[in-house]
Amino acid sequence: MKKVKYDVVVLGGGAAGMGAIKGALSENVKTLLIEREASTGGVLNQCIHNGFGIHVFNQELSGPEYHEMYLEKLGTFDAMYETTVLKVDEKHNLLHAISKDGVYEIEYGALVLATGARERPFEALRISGTRPAGIFTAGLAQHFVNLENKLPGHKAVILGSGDIGLIMARRLTLEGVKVEGVYEIMPYQGGLTRNIVQCLDDFNIPLHLSTSVIKVHGKERLEGVTVAKFENGRPVEGSERFIECDTLVASVGLIPENDLVKEIVEIDLSEGAVVDDLMRTNIPNIFAAGNNVCIHDLVDFVTMEGEMAGKNAALVSKGEKLPERKAIIKEGNNVRILSTKYTTASQAFKLYLRVSKPMGTTALYLNDERIKVVPVAKPSEMIELTLDPSKYKMRGKVILSALEVGK
């Protein structure tokens, strides 16, 4: 077993992990990246569509461009690729990892978790019928089409209107696959409106809301699916329709990836790692950033979170004491997801929230105080708040809630 020692170790080299490397290096500490794949970038590598970098680079880039341009800003750093961490021993500040050239014991001063998210599998939906070839998660289909030059089939149905599903509807259409439609069980879309416009409307691909697949048909290869309208979470009798297709692409959500640390780090109901405004978990020298904290729409914010996590991890590794938590932040009415669950009230910080239902003009409240009004609020689109402790009272319990104040 080989032993190595670093001030900051970053686990995962997607946008958040690369940001953490940059943040840590800015404090001149010895920093190591550990990545399971052969290169950095994470999900950016397969997101060849444009829509990245508006805030960080002030231009609209594709995922791979964002990745390479950010990497160039980083310069050189130590990294172990194709390396899997098997265990985090937080009591002794050790990681046990396995790579092509053997087993490693890695000692860290501070650790940044940047492991991203995994796709919710089709099986999680418990849909009846057979399980023939031709069923893919959207991210897997994206990987095949964009990186391996393989098409999944000829006629596709897309289940779920999350961004990856919408982007794949366009991608498959451009590649000559007939996309019959997108089916969404909720009464509202899952992805960004811009993706409804440029991925579905532009190509006349119908979006069927309150509709889902209830049965899969076919023996070896998928032959079709039965869809039905849904009301109150149940299929409406008589609304069933058979659709012939050889491909079913499921875009039914991302789950924060925290398997490795779920026994030691506080995890919330949506499976994200719970952090404070310094991106610190319940363990003082373990930080987290990116999709393993909460699922983000915008890579730019993931990068910023990563940079902060890396910088603070570096400070802790140098023995600096960071401020303590002063308040817990809770989801109030109509708020489903918060990126930050505690605050040290030591600095102004950014927090991202998702509402639980689509609303028109919406006012956001911190306890009883109105702090922002947005023209529309949708569960699919994160709302950014800047919380300044010199402006708002942040002690004890802070409740963030949303109220529709106009259509």
């Binding site: 060849i48 829509g51 594709s62 791979p64 990186l147 960004l192 409106t193 811009r194 440029q198 023209p375």
Partner: protein, 136 residues
């Protein structure tokens, strides 16, 4: 047009078209005022000037950036991701895909490298969006 009616203020009758700005993922909700000939008059709801440009373009000649990929010969990867350097007319998207499918580039490919110059006479280049090294 000369025969359009004027309203009581002596202006042409205008109408509001609602749309989502797709220039960036923020997706501002735009209300675009056009006259009865569909000519752009004004816009509200945009958080930045790019939204105004988009609205004007969208009601006259809608354009999109095309992101896709091109086959690579002797590369570490079979494909290189590409996009049009700026937006091209929406109506040309499928024709552009035909061009994209007919070509193959030789590795190495550099990010930003022009893959097709002046795609379909649009004045817009198709560029590589990543690096693909030569297979060794």
């Amino acid at each position: 047009m000369s025969d359009s009616k004027l309203n009581e203020n002596g202006e042409k009758n205008s109408k509001i078209i609602e749309m989502t700005c797709i220039v960036c993922p923020i997706g501002c909700h735009l209300k675009v005022k056009v006259d009865e000939d569909g000519k752009f008059l004004s816009v509200t709801g945009n958080r930045c000037p790019r939204g105004a440009e988009y609205a004007k373009q969208e009601v006259t000649d809608p354009r999109r950036v095309l992101p896709t990929s091109v086959r690579v010969k002797n590369g570490e990867l079979p494909l290189v991701s590409v996009r049009t350097e700026s937006a091209i007319p929406k109506r040309l998207i499928f024709e552009a895909m035909k061009v994209v499918k007919s070509i193959e580039v030789e590795a190495p490919v550099k990010r930003g490298q022009v893959i097709v110059e002046n795609l379909l006479d649009t004045g817009v280049n198709l560029i590589a969006t990543r690096t693909v090294k030569k297979l060794t």
